[in-house]
């Protein structure tokens, strides 16, 4: 559950106030809305590490790809669609 999954920030979709921003992040094609409040420096095109819908840090692109592939091979991407699996 502590696993954070890297994805690419493709768009900033909203800003409620100074700190509370959110955007769309692509995890190998799976799009999710992600909160960006903890990474004010993140821009469209950056890779972010996302844990339970909140980006917790930036990562470089190569690291992001390697980690993503690994998590996929391990079969641990189900966190991304847990809201559709059992509800």
């Amino acid at each position: 559950m502590c696993l954070a999954i890297p994805g690419k920030l493709t768009a900033i979709t909203g800003q409620l106030d100074e700190t509370f921003r959110f955007g769309k992040v692509s995890f190998g094609g799976i799009m999710k809305e992600v909160n960006l409040s903890m990474v004010p420096e993140a821009k469209v095109g950056d890779y972010v590490l996302v844990h339970v819908g909140v980006a917790i840090s930036l990562v470089d692109e190569e690291e992001a790809h390697k980690t993503f592939e690994y998590i996929k091979q391990m079969g641990e991407l189900n966190d991304l669609d847990s809201n559709t699996s059992e509800t």
């Binding site: 559950m1 502590c2 696993l3 954070a4 409620l16 106030d17 700190t19 509370f20 999710k32 909160n35 409040s37 903890m38 990474v39 004010p40 590490l49 844990h51 339970v52 819908g53 909140v54 917790i56 840090s57 990562v59 470089d60 690291e63 390697k66 980690t67 690994y70 091979q73 391990m74 641990e76 189900n78 966190d79 991304l80 669609d81 847990s82 809201n83 699996s85 059992e86 509800t87």
Partner: protein, 365 residues
């Protein structure tokens, strides 16, 4: 079961294992406190590749597994209450409470929903203004910023029908509890990479100092085996230092904004860990300023200590005294369909890792 040869890093891993073998001269017990690492070690067959002198033991790195029975019962009570939607991460659903699991109460009609993020639960509360939405906020430091953010967000939006049932645990006090336990002997720790992404490394310094124990912040991929190598190098040299193997992600100071969000909403509290017992100042509770978002206050819950299932030895496993396969119920009375304890059903639980992925050697050894 996946094999290492499938990974592009297979040669790196082999080199790392060879180096560990070459330099190891004495028996060492190393504990990882991260369910992701436990699963990676087991799934990739790394435990079997390590030299016989190196014993990896699997600490309390699974927040679902250490959530005490009493809190599971509180969640179940709320789920069964009228006009309540109980939201949770999927992992929590199959965990047995003292009488039943959330999945069982869901099957009898309770409104229990799996969410990907606590912020989804806030959205659900906005969409259902006449219903109380409670988020079962389980987690380590990694998850605390997101859970805190859900409270801040609900507060800013004026969403009054949202609250959280907090079950938050902290890694460093658990390490200290394990190190102070006269029964255990842990020579070194791997600290969890994503916990340190949030909290940084500073809080581990005093533990290294006080207990003269090497701590290496480590990732969870097979190449991160170099964390074990770094630990063994220190042990063989008689050193005890705090090192960062996962510097590609972890900064010394962590994510200060995330820490600020945590301390906005939470304060440090004593906590009972399932299987281990009470550890002082080892958890987070919602601060008084945000009491109206605290499900315990809102619904007047009184956390009652509930005796744990005596058949489950998860406490001994998490303290590094036993391996899952040494549990007399492993794979027989206790299996993923009929779990006796949380480590058999959580995706980060050590028993689940051994059950699903360990090959026969590991299970027989």
């Amino acid at each position: 079961m996946k094999y290492l040869s499938e990974f592009r890093d297979a040669t790196t891993v082999k080199d790392l294992v060879d180096t560990i073998k070459r330099i190891t001269t004495k028996p060492w017990t190393i504990m990882e406190i991260c369910g992701g690492q436990t699963h990676s070690l087991v799934k990739n067959g790394i435990l079997e590749m390590l030299p016989i002198e190196i014993t990896m033991v699997h600490g309390p790195g699974c927040p679902v597994c250490v959530t005490p029975l009493g809190i599971n019962d509180e969640a179940i009570y709320l789920a069964e209450s009228k006009n309540v939607i109980l939201c949770s991460f999927g992992d929590m659903l199959r965990v047995p409470g003292s009488k039943k699991s959330l999945l069982e109460v869901k099957a009898t009609g309770a409104d229990v929903r799996i969410v990907y993020s606590p912020l989804e639960a806030v959205k659900l509360a906005q969409d259902n203004p006449a219903t109380e939405v409670v988020f079962f906020a389980v987690g380590f430091e990694t998850t605390a910023p997101a859970n805190a953010l859900s409270v801040v967000h609900a507060h800013k939006l004026g969403v009054n029908n949202f609250s959280i049932l907090a079950s938050h645990v902290l890694v460093p006090p658990a390490m200290e509890a394990i190190l102070s336990d006269p029964e255990t002997r842990i020579d070194a720790f791997l600290a969890a990479g994503h916990v340190c992404t949030i909290m940084g490394m500073e809080e581990y310094e005093p533990i290294v100092e006080k207990y003269k124990v090497p701590i290496v912040v480590t990732g969870f991929e097979p190449v991160d085996l170099s964390g074990i190598l770094m630990t063994v190098i220190q042990l063989e040299r008689g050193e005890a230092k705090l090192e960062n193997q996962y510097a590609r992600v972890v900064q010394q100071e962590g994510n200060r904004l995330a820490q600020k969000t945590i301390y906005e909403v939470f304060e440090i509290s004593d906590r009972t860990w399932r299987g281990i017992g009470e550890i002082p100042e080892s958890g987070y509770e919602v601060k008084n300023e945000y009491a109206r978002y605290n499900a315990r206050k809102k619904f007047n819950l009184n956390l009652k200590p509930v005796p744990e299932n005596a058949e489950c030895i998860s406490g001994a496993i998490m303290k590094g005294l036993k391996k899952p396969i040494q549990c007399p119920n492993f794979g027989t009375q206790c299996n993923p369909e009929h779990p006796l304890g949380a480590p058999m059903v959580s995706s980060e639980g050590a028993c689940a890792a051994y059950y699903h992925y360990a090959n026969n050697n590991l299970v027989k050894s």
